[in-house]
């Protein structure tokens, strides 16, 4: 009996030893192999969602923010009945069951069903407790100011990728490179690790735009659009010394929160993408270059009594017949005849050279997408009458921004600045990581710019073309422009389509901002002084008080402007 039990125990011992050897094989020899397998299934490398940075105005006010919304997805491996799931989902989501069915009917482990829905709906979906249907949080871009500065801010697609404006241009700042994190999960795919990094935040972009000024500009453009039944209107306000864009608006605009319901034409940033013939506003190019070249002085007289001048076989007339005008008066009264005579004195090489120098015919380099360079033909390709036409702002195509920048040269004492909308980039914890550098290049002398400032001041004085642009208590330097629109069909100047503009800067002697207002195809009045001038005045007036700028005549009138602190201490007393 006992020897048989020995046999059994030997069999058992062989079994135990075999198990031990097998364990050596699995646990020691193949340890690395199984460890990899274990890591492969237990540990999941998960992409950390990137939360897009905010877009702020120069004072830190939020122009683009993120809202948490929820998105519904399916895991086809878990979905039991496609038909049942689809009908149940359709009862909550506003979609046809057939469409949901096609979305469910894939082999993917992850497929979107409906994205960025509100919490009320996602809660209902959670309550359905459908197998294979999940809900995850996704940040959605929200623009609290609606259509304000729409062309500058731009918008994003469903995956939060910038499509227009700053959202597109500053994509690399706003997003961060997606990182991956390692999380533990169970066999059902539930994430078990706690405290791992849940999101990466992109940097915040601070624009040079001032929300208050932007609002003032847009409001007044809207008024003039309504009043003049204009096709569109544009205004740009710029800090003259740095080139910072304080406000830039084009009408019509669109609601950033529903870009899909807008048309491409409303999404166009006319301030940098539309070219027009500048008309009289271009006359300063000839004027400034003549002064800079020393060909004329301010008191030099030009005979404009003929009321017209012939250039290259074509007769160009003045709007009103003038007598003999000084150089100053030519600009003030915007005489075509006088300007052409100056231009002819300069010669086409110089006119071309200064046009180029003032930045026409090339991009301003603004940090927005879609800017065009305009049209300025080389002087070798000019016809006989070109010198006359270009002197008074015809035969050239410019953008409103180019014109504004040219006037800013006079405002800031002779520097060509690079306009920009990006002020700085800040990390989520407010560290500045990038700052736009100010680029400026002297193109005319301080003296010439000072002289010209004085000339431009007279435009809004009695005898000038833009008394309507006069601003209470402040001297305005500026220039009107009225240009005909070339009908694309007939290739001739249209009889009833005009572009009225006014460009200038205030206060004239110590400019705080330069401003251009362009109204396209106004009905009724057409002249820049009448249509764009009042808009300029209103915007400038409101902006000056918004910016708390002391009136030029404050001393004369004995006005006292109190700083905020003084006001506070006064009321405290």
């Amino acid at each position: 009996m006992h020897h048989r039990t020995i046999i059994i125990s030997i069999v058992l011992m062989i079994g135990f030893i075999a198990v031990t050897l097998r364990l050596v094989d699995i646990m020691i020899i193949n340890h690395d192999y199984y460890l990899n397998k274990a890591k492969g299934q237990q540990v999941k490398s998960e992409e950390i969602p990137v939360k897009r940075g905010l877009i702020l105005d120069r004072k830190g006010r939020e122009l683009a923010i993120n809202l948490d919304t929820e998105s519904v997805y399916s895991d086809s491996a878990e979905v039991k009945s496609i038909d049942e799931t689809a009908t149940k989902l359709a009862s909550v989501i506003n979609q046809k069951p057939e469409i949901i069915k096609t979305k469910l009917d894939t082999n993917k482990r992850f497929a979107w069903i409906e994205r960025k829905i509100d919490f009320e709906h996602s809660q209902k979906i959670k309550e359905l407790k459908l197998r294979g249907i999940g809900v995850i949080t996704e940040p959605k871009r929200f623009y609290p100011k609606g259509s304000l500065a729409s062309h500058i801010i731009g918008y994003v697609d469903i995956d939060n990728k910038g499509l227009e404006g700053a959202e597109e241009r500053f994509e690399r700042f706003l997003t961060a490179s997606p990182a991956k994190t390692v999380v533990m999960r169970d066999a059902k795919g539930n994430i078990l690790s706690e405290g791992h990094q849940r999101e990466i935040k992109g940097n915040n972009v601070v624009l040079t735009i001032d929300e208050g000024l932007q609002y003032i500009v847009e409001k007044n453009l809207e008024l003039v659009m309504k009043e003049r039944k204009a096709a569109s209107a544009t205004a740009i306000m710029m800090e003259p010394h740095t080139g910072e864009i304080l406000a830039m608006a084009s009408l019509p605009n669109y609601d950033l929160n529903s870009p899909s319901s807008s048309t491409p034409s409303t999404r166009r940033n006319r301030a940098i993408t539309d070219i027009y013939e500048p008309g009289s506003t271009y006359k300063i190019i000839v004027g400034v270059s003549a002064l800079q070249e020393g060909i004329v002085n301010t008191e030099m007289k030009f005979d404009c009594s003929a009321g017209s001048v012939e250039v290259g076989g074509k007769r160009i007339k003045d709007a009103h017949r003038h007598g003999v005008l000084t150089f100053k008066e030519v600009i003030q009264k915007s005489s075509n005849v006088g300007t052409i005579k100056i231009g002819l004195k300069l010669g086409k090489e110089k006119v071309y050279e200064y046009s180029k120098l003032f930045g026409f015919g090339s991009k301003t380099g603004i940090d927005l997408i879609g800017e065009v360079s305009g049209i300025l033909r080389h002087h070798s390709k000019w016809s006989g009458m070109s010198i006359g036409a270009i002197s008074i702002g015809q035969e050239v195509g410019v953008t409103p921004l180019q014109v504004l920048r040219a006037y800013t040269v006079i405002a800031n004492g002779g520097y060509l600045v690079r306009p920009h909308v990006l002020k700085e980039v800040r990390t989520p914890d407010n560290q500045v990581v990038f700052q736009s550098e100010i680029q400026k290049k002297r193109i005319i002398s301080e003296e010439v710019s000072a002289v010209f400032r004085d000339i431009l001041k007279t435009v809004t004085e009695d005898g000038g073309t833009a008394k309507e642009a006069r601003v209470d208590g402040n001297l305005v330097a500026g220039k009107t422009g009225t240009a005909q629109v070339i009908d694309p069909k007939t290739k001739k100047y249209s009889k009833d389509k005009y572009i009225s503009s006014f460009v200038g800067f205030v206060p004239a002697d110590k400019p705080r901002f330069s401003l251009i207002v362009v109204v396209y195809e106004p009905k009724g009045a057409i002249y820049g002084g009448v249509v764009a001038g009042p808009v300029f005045r209103k915007i400038a007036n409101e902006s000056l008080s918004y910016l708390n700028i002391l009136r030029d005549d404050a001393d004369e009138k004995g006005l006292l402007v109190m700083t905020n602190q003084e006001q506070k201490s006064n009321t405290a007393r």
């Binding site: 006992h2 059994i8 135990f16 199984y34 274990a38 237990q42 169970d186």
Partner: protein, 417 residues
């Protein structure tokens, strides 16, 4: 008074149970979102101690059963043999009544407040006691084919019921156990060979049933379908393999996160491997080898054939279960639902195994009593005779000490003088 309990056996079992409690707690204490959801659905409160508490409750009941089995007189146990067998049979039949409980596609349990009971575990012990009784009784003749097929017949009845419950693991272990005891009992080898030949077609037929065939094929190549039928085995390998020599640390295992099904019951050995490494698994194997050796030592030192067969039966019953479990977890034989004695979570197994250990301790106690008396008695003069210290009647013993000197046993005639 000297302690008569076998300290070594008690220590081995105690350590195994302790390892079991720690492992059960480790494998069931993680409340995953999945577990939480299930708990909420069934309205039960989810607690990390839920399984541990149940196991501790069973342990208390088991200790009580162990104590009873330790105290009972072995000849009383002999009388209980047939009733126990009948009770097992009834329990097994109850599974098919409204008292039966099914889980995981198999109907193997009956309701026994406050938990469920798996009769197949009881059947194993009953068969062992029955076989010990039968082999030591006058009905058994090692050379008679009839006395060979009587236990086989009883075995087949139980096996048929177990097949009905799809408890193939129990069918197999019960068969192996019975044949082993018959083998020890000294039956002719040709009977066993004959039995093998007769049962071969049945085994093949059972093995070819689709769900079982799938288990067998997935055993041969688990990686063929690692997400389907081979899933459990693959996950078991990953658990063991990732443990390495020293393991990932107690409680640090990840395979219990719904990866390895039945990790707290049949596959708890994989968890030990993952968390305590090769070292941990070898310790468990060594403990079972020690158990085997101690059990055999006790059996060998028994002085009557009933106790001997009983001790061998219990020792082999538990050792077989442990070995089969190891073989399953390491993928050396196809998957079967057999728990690892003392360690796996599961009330029935723990309760029955502790009762069995109680009986084994009982046998050891009697051995010790006799050895104590033997040292007091006269040395043997006749090699053909040896002294018996078994209380044959109630009057022989008082307070654990023999009052009647001894009986003499003739080896050749197998009679008491």
């Amino acid at each position: 008074m000297r302690l008569l309990i076998d300290k070594w056996l008690l220590l081995i079992v105690f350590v195994l149970i302790l390892i079991g409690l720690v492992s059960v707690y480790s494998s069931t204490s993680v409340v995953t979102p999945d577990v939480l959801e299930k708990g909420q659905e069934s309205g039960k409160q989810v607690s990390p101690f839920g399984f541990l508490k149940k196991q501790l409750f069973t342990l208390c009941v088991g200790i009580f059963a162990l104590f009873l089995a330790y105290k009972i007189r072995l000849n009383h146990l002999k009388i209980l043999t047939i009733p126990l067998l009948i009770i097992s049979l009834i329990c097994l039949l109850l599974v098919f009544t409204s008292l039966g409980v099914s889980a995981g596609g198999a109907r193997r349990w009956i309701r026994a407040w406050p938990t469920v009971f798996q009769p197949s575990e009881l059947v194993k012990l009953s068969i062992v006691i029955f076989m010990a009784w039968f082999l030591s009784s006058k009905y058994f003749n090692r050379d008679s084919i009839r006395s060979f097929f009587i236990p086989i017949g009883i075995l087949v009845v139980f096996q048929l019921l177990l097949i009905k419950q799809r408890d193939f693991g129990a069918v197999m272990s019960l068969g192996v156990l019975t044949v082993t005891l018959l083998f020890i009992g000294g039956v002719r080898l040709k009977y066993i060979c004959l039995l093998g030949l007769v049962s071969l077609p049945f085994i093949v037929k059972l093995a070819l049933e689709p769900y079982r065939l799938k288990r067998i094929t997935s055993f041969i190549d688990p990686w063929k379908d690692p997400l389907g039928s081979g899933f459990q085995l693959v996950q078991s390998f990953i658990a063991l393999g990732s443990g390495g020599i020293t393991g990932v640390g107690l409680g640090e295992g990840k395979q219990k996160l719904s990866y390895l099904p039945e990790i707290h019951t049949d596959f708890i050995f994989a968890l030990i491997g993952e968390e305590l490494g090769f070292v941990g698994t070898v310790v468990v194997i060594l403990l079972f080898i020690l158990f085997l050796m101690r059990g055999m030592w006790i059996a060998k030192n028994s002085h009557d054939s009933f106790s001997t067969y009983l001790a061998y039966g219990i020792t082999f019953m538990i050792s077989y279960q442990a070995l089969i479990n190891f073989l399953v977890v390491t993928g050396m034989i196809p998957t079967k639902g057999l728990p690892l004695p003392f360690i796996s979570y599961g009330g029935s197994s723990l309760f029955v195994n502790m009762t069995a250990v109680g009986i084994l301790l009982n046998v050891a106690k009697v051995n010790k009593q006799q050895r104590l008396l033997q040292t007091q008695s006269q040395p043997l003069t006749n090699k053909e005779h040896f002294q018996l210290y078994i209380p044959l009647t109630n009057n022989d013993v008082k307070d654990g000490v023999f009052i009647k000197p001894f009986y003499c046993f003739n080896r050749k005639t197998n009679t008491i003088v």
